[in-house]
């Protein structure tokens, strides 16, 4: 089920050590992935996520989530992917384009995946009963939307969507999969292959984009330490001359003001986003 940020991404799994950490940040299981073959090493990665211990599954994972039907993977999961995209984009988009892959493309109308994705883009919770009226509300908010059936490649889970958000001066794309039971994975942010596990519950994440080789992480960690926020795990992915760093935080919450402070005080950062707001949704 839910797992912390597992190391690295599909394309970046080489002979690396993958650590799954527990809630308290101790290393519980270590796997050496010897195979260079992407697929088999990915299968092993998924195995590690099944190895989660009882202490990571909550009673309220069973008695919940409170959600709008009809399907946890096609509706609730889709809404959550939308929320992630919105949190990453940081601001109201003018235009949203959804490329629906696999089963998402086949059955999105019957399962209301389209409504749910759009609702997520507008920051609706998965339990928001206005989800039904997402189209009307989007029109009121003047957000243009479009749904396109597209094959993104056979490496992706059948329930996958590529979301492109735009406003006047910015554009961002993201690929996310809904892997069942309302749990999601984010696999690509712009051109960076990542592997974020969503239910976004237990680990709050900070996402930072900066220049490659810029030494910003130690600076950020130092600032986090000052405000008593524990860092559980970090992962870094580079594409061309940019690097995307993801920091998983411990149980302490970080406020938006704190995030903005750090963003201001650290040089060489393109953007910094906190996904902590998604915690309870």
């Amino acid at each position: 089920m839910d797992n912390p940020l597992l190391n690295a991404s599909r394309d970046y799994i080489k002979a690396t050590e993958v650590c799954a950490t527990t809630c308290h940040g101790q290393i519980r299981k270590r796997f050496i992935i010897k195979s260079m073959d992407k697929k088999s090493s990915f299968a092993k990665l998924e195995k590690t996520s099944n190895l989660q211990t009882m202490s990571e599954t909550s009673i309220f994972d069973i008695a919940g989530p409170i959600m709008v039907g009809p399907s946890s993977s096609h509706t609730a999961g889709a809404c959550k992917i939308g929320q992630f995209a919105r949190a990453l984009f940081h601001g109201t988009p003018k235009k949203a384009t959804f490329y629906l892959h696999g089963s998402f493309g086949e059955v999105y109308k019957g399962h209301a995946t389209d409504l749910a994705l759009l609702a997520g883009i507008m920051k609706f919770k998965t339990s928001d009963s206005r989800l039904k009226e997402a189209f009307e509300i989007a029109k009121k908010k003047k957000i243009q939307y479009e749904f396109i059936k597209k094959d993104l490649g056979k490496d992706y889970h059948p329930n996958t969507v590529r979301i492109v958000l735009e406003n006047r001066d910015r554009k961002m794309s993201m690929i996310g999969s809904s892997v069942g039971g309302g749990m999601i994975e984010i696999l690509k942010i712009d051109n960076f292959p990542v592997h974020l596990h969503g239910r976004a519950g237990k680990y709050l994440s900070l996402i930072i984009c900066h220049k490659k080789n810029a030494d910003v992480l130690p600076k950020i960690k130092e600032q986090l330490k000052k405000i008593n926020i524990e860092v559980v795990n970090t992962q870094q992915v580079s594409y061309k001359d940019k690097t995307l760093s993801v920091i998983a935080l411990g149980h302490t919450r970080i406020t938006l003001a704190q995030v903005q402070d750090i963003e201001k005080n650290t040089e060489g950062i393109d953007f910094m986003r906190s996904l902590s707001k998604l915690e309870k949704q």
Binding site: M1, C23, M54, S55, T57, S58, I59, F60, D61, I62, A63, G64, P65, I66, M67, V68, G69, P70, S71, S72, S73, T75, A76, E106, V107, K109, G110, H111, A112, L115, S127, S129, L131, K132, G180, G181, G182, H251
Partner: protein
């Protein structure tokens, strides 16, 4: 090290005996310890879940709203209306009401309204159906209801841990089956059963579902899911009644859950939420598929 940590029913039983607590209390303390919260805040969180479930039930028994495909809607109201004529029915008030509530939740889910996925969206009707209906016929029903919900979640947790709660992996046994097991245990605790009895009830209910296919028409959580939820209530109430009458499950719960995992591995993918086998491929099922514009393989 966590004191209230468990991975199977045996360990829960040990905790119950060691601290002289019912399953629901162990669950509460486990959650409080796990999430570093107070027991009161865990209780409050469960109350929120209860209120959301209650809203869905109340709305569902009043409405005649049809789902988008028109396959379901309005049945909960019919069953609820039959309560007035309970003399002409074979079941009693509790069973009829449970079926009405379960159907209500299923219909609300299909009509895109808010529900609690307890444990999943597909099997979301059974637990509220059984527990709400029973609580209305008990004294201090509201408090007992919370105990039942905590107990049911515990069973769900060990099923999730040792087998699966996803129909895509385990078929309907993992959704309605698991929900029936959970509801049976929860109901037994509400009636004052011992922890052992709760596990026997869960085992008996779950045993009837080993290997049940997930074969929804057109892949939508409508037919046969909603009626299976209603029948799941009968199953859970029956299992609980048997246990309270002194019957025990010959196979312990942990072994039943193991069997469930085993059956899940043996099941063809066609019977696991893909709408490629079972009821989904009947004449009616194919008609729905065509209507939805799905491929028929």
């Amino acid at each position: 090290m966590m004191e209230y940590k468990f991975t199977n029913s045996e360990e829960i039983l040990r905790l119950c005996k060691k601290h002289n607590l019912p399953i629901s209390e162990v669950a509460k303390r486990f959650e409080a310890e796990r999430a570093h919260k107070s027991i009161a805040s865990v209780r409050n969180q469960m109350k929120k879940v209860r209120d959301a479930m209650y809203d869905a039930v109340r709305k569902g028994v009043k409405t005649e709203e049809k789902s988008k495909m028109g396959m379901v809607g309005g049945d909960a109201k019919k069953i609820y209306a039959a309560l007035k004529n309970v003399k002409n029915m074979m079941g009693n008030k509790v069973t009829l009401r449970a079926m009405a509530y379960a159907t209500a939740v299923g219909e609300q889910n299909a009509c895109m309204n808010r529900i609690v996925a307890f444990p999943t969206a597909g099997g979301a009707g059974v637990v509220p159906g059984v527990l709400f209906s029973a609580s209305e016929s008990f004294k201090a029903g509201k408090r007992k209801l919370l105990r039942g919900m905590f107990c049911a979640s515990t069973i769900g947790l060990i099923i999730a841990e040792n087998a699966t709660l996803s129909a895509a992996k385990g078929g309907c046994q993992a959704e309605v089956g698991a929900a029936a097991g959970m509801a049976a245990a929860g109901l037994t605790e509400m009636r004052g059963g011992t922890p052992e009895q709760c596990f026997h009830a869960a085992a008996i209910a779950l045993k009837s579902y080993i290997g049940l296919a997930c074969d929804p028409l057109g892949g939508l959580v409508e037919v046969p899911c909603i009626k299976r939820n209603a029948i799941g209530c009968m199953n859970a109430i029956g299992a609980s009644d048997m246990v309270m009458a002194g019957v025990k499950s010959f196979i312990p719960l942990d072994e039943v859950i193991e069997a469930m995992r085993d059956a899940a591995e043996l099941m063809s993918p066609k019977l696991r939420e893909t709408a490629l086998g079972g009821l989904a491929m009947t004449k009616t099922g194919i008609m729905i598929k065509k209507k939805l514009g799905l491929k028929i393989k």
